[in-house]
């Protein structure tokens, strides 16, 4: 049992980057650079949407036998404040990144008791190396009621089983 599993962030294409050293930052541009450029602007009315972000698991060192049971969850508490949310959906293939409403579900509804299944479409068990499982697509929503400023990050957990 010694697989190395990375979490990759996709932008623009389905080939992602290993997110071992920085946060996933929602922006008004389709990129994964963590900086203060392309910040999301609070609208005067209604809601605006960030460019989508997609995460997928990538096995870089194969398990002794296989990996399986990929799930994703939060702590259930949205600490971003009024008017700021994150919606998500899960899929088995890479949809193009967009900055229009994906009409997803509340990411903070994914908790330990009801996690998101990232092995639902591209089912396991998985052997060898490479991208495995499904994609979680996320999008930040900003309503006119939001307050300006830098948000404190929230914790996202991706778990996997290996034998």
């Amino acid at each position: 049992m010694a697989a190395t599993v990375q979490v990759h962030e996709m932008s623009a294409t389905s080939t992602g980057v290993d997110k071992t050293s920085s946060t996933v930052r929602f922006k008004s541009a389709d990129e994964n650079t963590v900086d203060n450029n392309n910040r999301l602007q609070i609208p005067g009315a209604g809601t605006i949407y960030s460019y989508t972000k997609q995460l997928r698991l990538n096995v870089t060192i194969a398990p002794d036998t296989d990996v399986d049971n990929f799930v994703v969850y939060t702590d259930g508490n949205n600490g971003f404040g009024t008017g700021v949310g994150i919606q998500y959906d899960l899929s088995g293939s890479f949809p193009a990144q967009i900055d229009t409403n994906i009409s997803g579900s509340d990411l903070f509804g994914l908790v330990v008791g009801t996690p998101g299944d990232m092995s639902a479409v591209n089912t396991g068990p998985y052997t060898g190396t490479g991208y495995k499982g499904d994609f979680i697509r996320m999008q930040m929503t900003i309503a006119s009621t939001a307050s300006p400023g830098t948000l404190t990050g929230e914790t996202l957990t991706l778990a996997y089983d290996e034998t």
Binding site: M1, K19, S21, T23, G153, T155, T157
Partner: protein, 121 residues
């Protein structure tokens, strides 16, 4: 200087069969046919052997007289991003029998649960 050990490497599994044969994870990695036709009913003891000196060894004995059977073993990794990237923050090993699940955390503690219980951190 000793290289840093990943959390999923702090323990390695080992099983003993009813004919006293011992198979461990390193044996399996070298020759995966060892477990291919293994009769799990022949397993009498399952150990998680620490690879770090300060951690305790955990061993369960399969009580066949009470109808206990080894089902499987697996590890569960938890990658968390708290703003500094996704890190393997925790790892738990699980020995599953038909009577209970025995969980061993990468830092040495353990937990026994019902078979339908799951551990997510």
């Amino acid at each position: 200087m000793r290289p840093k050990m990943e959390l999923n490497e702090t323990y390695k599994w080992q099983v003993e069969l009813d004919d006293s044969t011992v198979i461990n994870r390193d044996d399996y990695v070298k020759d995966k046919s060892l477990c291919k036709n293994l009769n799990y009913d022949s397993i009498t003891k399952v150990s998680l052997v620490p690879q770090v000196e300060v951690l305790p060894e955990h061993t369960i004995f399969i009580d066949k007289q009470k109808g206990e059977k080894f089902i499987k073993g697996f590890g569960r990794g938890f990658k968390k991003n708290r703003g500094m990237g996704f890190k393997l923050e925790n790892y738990v090993h699980c020995i599953v029998t038909n009577k209970y699940k025995f969980w061993v955390f990468c830092r040495g503690s353990s937990l026994v649960t019902n078979t339908d219980y799951e551990v997510y951190i």
